[in-house]
């Protein structure tokens, strides 16, 4: 990443008094200590333990037994692993871009100053506050084949609606559709970016071209690319970890016909239903590495398409 420090090239800062500097350093460490302890206890140690347990046979009760790479070999031949990986990949590839596009559209609308702006912002954020389980159940009731309001309306309009959650060809798409509902955070992040675009830049763009999409493509989008990057990375991480909606809708078997069987569901059932914690830990390790590699790749490519104010391309 280019050096974007505004003080780069300026005169060096005066040296601080050594004793005071050490005092400040100590204070800094003390302030950071709770976070460091928390990070060690709740992130670093569990992460290392996961790598270790992934190479053991561990049934929760009793001590883990070292088995080397056996759990990874078992994953390789497990059809549920591949089915869930494929479903999760399809879910991520489709839902993440859709989420970004819809959230951006909403943010553009909410960015218009109207008397009801605050009201709309609240309304669009509300779904995010609803627990995922409750939201999923509400949608299941709405999408019930015969008595659900959605199908009743569609039938009244002359359509032949699908069995949203019963048809294996429709269920994954329904799950993707449901993931598009709570867009509050993504929309707010985009909105924050839009509101940070300097007025003079926006007005200059209006003068240069009367076409709205010119301004969107050449001015607005480049200026909010940091927000796109943030939403993209967070979206990918979350989409690979989809669990609650999938297990509420499809149970641990990914009904119907494994069409909603997601990676985290398979991991969960391996650990807490089959008591095969070693295999679950191996799955967690694989997921960790995949998400890590994807995130690093995105950050790597971000150098060419993310623009920071005051920075270089």
């Amino acid at each position: 990443m280019p050096d974007t420090n505004p003080s780069a090239g300026a005169a060096p800062l005066p040296r601080r008094n050594g004793g005071a500097g050490r005092g400040e350093a100590r204070a800094g460490v003390l302030f950071a200590l709770p976070w460091m302890v928390g990070m060690t206890l709740f992130v670093a140690i569990p992460l290392i333990l996961t790598f270790y347990i992934a190479q053991t046979k561990f049934q929760i009760i009793g001590a883990p037994k070292w088995v080397g790479m056996q759990n990874y070999e078992a994953l390789w031949t497990d059809p549920a692993f591949w089915t869930s990986a494929r479903n999760t990949l399809v879910f991520a590839v489709i839902s993440v871009p859709l989420k970004l596009i819809i959230a951006l559209g909403l943010a553009l609308l909410l960015n218009r100053a109207t008397a009801l702006s605050s009201f709309y912002r609240t309304v669009f954020y509300l779904p995010f506050l609803m627990p995922a389980v409750a939201g999923s159940v509400v949608f299941m009731l709405l999408l019930t084949p015969n008595a659900g309001p959605v199908n009743l309306v569609l039938e009244a309009l002359g359509f032949n609606p699908p069995d949203w959650l019963l048809d294996p060809n429709a269920a994954l798409w329904t799950l993707i559709m449901l993931s598009l509902w709570p867009l509050g955070v993504e929309t707010l992040v985009f909105l924050g970016g839009l509101q940070n675009i300097p007025k003079e830049v926006s007005e200059a763009a209006d003068l240069d071209s009367p076409r709205g999409w010119h301004k969107l493509v050449w001015i607005t989008l480049p200026l909010i690319t940091p927000m796109v990057l943030f939403n993209l990375v967070i979206g990918i991480i979350y989409s690979f970890q989809i669990f609650t909606q999938a297990i509420v809708i499809g149970g641990t078997t990914g009904a119907p016909a494994e069409s909603t069987l997601m990676y985290m569901v398979v991991l969960y059932r391996a650990a807490f239903r089959y008591f095969n914690v070693g295999l679950a830990a191996a799955m967690a390790t694989v997921l960790f590495l995949v998400v890590l590699i994807l995130t690093l790749l995105i950050f790597r490519t971000a150098r060419s398409w993310v623009h920071y104010e005051g920075g270089e391309r």
Partner: protein, 458 residues
């Protein structure tokens, strides 16, 4: 127990997941005393169930503790069903503070074989509930390699339920003896009741089975077996089981337009309870289904909301498949275990002895889970006597007793949950025609046998 759903035990159903989430929240807000057991004071954990269910068990434990001179007992109710309850129980065992006694709605074999529950065999010797006082087929649901890890104190007994009024309206005899004895007879009779209005199923006769946990019963009815516990071998893709699924599949094609989705869109033809997701009422209780297989727990719930639209129903034995020779029944027991780490194992076992004999009689009076110990002479449940009269209630109680004596072994595998998921997957593939019968069963067989061998490898 007061109610159960068609979802496989341990398989996380939608309702189970919700109940579990709520239960976990409840559990976290419980006082510390609910989890920390003390010497001389029994602590009992129960999975889900109605308020009445909780009240009965609280009363039974308090009565026993008081009579035995123990300190005040604690019953923790509604800790969640299925996987959520198991998680909480395992957590308490690994943390060293388990309850003294826990009820399970899933076989204790899997966790017992891993050392989570105390073997009961030594305690049973010389007690008032020795091994020989239990039906062997039923007790095998708690045993692995000859070790008993729990007691199936009461059980729901699976049999055929049928609407006598629908039978009589068609001019058929509604006597138990006249009920179909073979699958062929049942299928022929079923057609008489099944009426479609376009793609809507208006009324139906009987349904081919698609409930994963009862597949062992249907397999046994066809002379087959799902799990050979002696040789530790799964037989999911045996000839009898392939034949069974082919029979069911032809039946679905012939009578139900080859599409269970159409059936499910028309109502709940799967069991005797309202569908928790769609809210659709049970077709049997609505008088739209002539018969179905169900557990005896429905005896307690059938008069609850929604009340049946007819008065007269009866129970009959399970019909035999083309390769079968004799009728069998099946069970879904209420198991009780003493977790490793219990601080009062002796008192806990004494309570199980009391519950298996005296306690189960009181339990059955209020909620008709059938007492299983051979020494128990259960009287007909009071609610059933009130609704159907003493004669019918006595007849049904006697019938359930006979059925309990011909139970096929079930729930006896250390990889029960894994098998349940595999057979559910295979069944779905077969009925949706995503895989041919042989292929779907062979896949389930290979996966389940491999998992069994992995677990047994030590």
């Amino acid at each position: 127990m007061s109610y159960k759903t068609f979802a496989a035990p341990g398989r996380v159903s939608r309702r189970g997941f919700l109940a579990g989430s709520a239960a976990l929240g409840t559990a976290l807000s419980l006082p510390q005393g609910a989890f920390a057991q003390q010497e001389g004071q029994l602590l009992l954990w129960l999975p889900g169930g109605s308020d009445l269910f909780c009240k009965i068990h609280t009363g039974l434990l308090e009565g026993f503790s008081s009579g035995a001179g123990l300190g005040p007992a604690t019953t923790v109710c509604g800790l969640g069903q299925d996987t959520e309850f198991t998680q909480a129980l395992i957590g308490s065992i690994t943390a060293g503070s388990p309850p003294d006694i826990s009820m399970l709605w899933d076989s204790p074999v899997s966790l017992g074989a891993q050392g989570a529950f105390m073997p009961l065999d030594d305690m049973m010797k010389g007690s008032k509930i020795p091994l020989e006082t239990w039906p062997a087929g039923l007790l095998s649901s708690s045993q692995f390699k000859g070790v008993t890890y729990g007691l199936p104190v009461t059980a729901g007994v699976y049999s055929m339920w049928y609407n006598q009024e629908m039978f009589e309206a068609k001019g058929m005899s509604s006597a138990r003896d006249a009920f179909p004895k073979t699958w062929d007879e049942m299928r022929r009779m079923s057609k008489e009741f099944t009426v479609w209005d376009g793609d809507k199923l208006v009324t139906s006769g009987f349904m081919p089975n698609r409930v994963p946990e009862t597949m062992a019963i249907w397999s046994a009815l066809n002379g087959g077996m799902i799990f050979d516990e002696v040789n530790l071998k799964y037989l999911i893709d045996s000839e009898q089981n392939v034949e069974m699924f082919n029979f069911f599949l032809e039946w679905v094609d012939e009578e139900y337009k080859g599409d269970f989705n159409l059936v499910d869109r028309s109502g709940n033809f799967l069991d005797g309870y309202p569908n928790p997701t769609t809210g659709m009422g049970p077709a049997f209780r609505e008088g739209r289904q002539a018969g179905m297989q169900s557990g005896s727990w429905l005896l307690g719930d059938i008069f609850a909301d929604p009340v049946p639209s007819f008065e007269r129903w009866n129970l009959a034995g399970n019909p035999v498949g083309p390769s079968g020779t004799t009728s069998v029944s099946g069970t879904w027991p209420n198991w009780f275990v003493i977790p490793v780490g219990s601080k009062n194992p002796r008192a806990a076992f004494d309570y199980l002895s009391y519950l298996a004999v005296e306690g189960s009689v009181q339990w059955y009076q209020q909620i008709p889970d059938v007492p299983t110990n051979k020494q128990v002479q259960a009287k007909a449940p009071a609610g059933l006597v009130e609704k159907r009269g003493q004669e019918v209630a006595d007849d049904i109680t006697a019938f359930l007793g006979e059925q309990a004596a011909i139970m096929t072994p079930m729930w006896n595998s250390p990889v029960q949950s894994f098998y349940t998921d595999q057979i559910a997957r295979a069944t779905e593939k077969i009925y949706t025609k995503a895989s041919p019968v042989k292929e779907a069963l062979a896949e389930a067989q290979a996966a389940t046998q491999a998992e069994l061998e992995r677990v047994l490898a030590g």
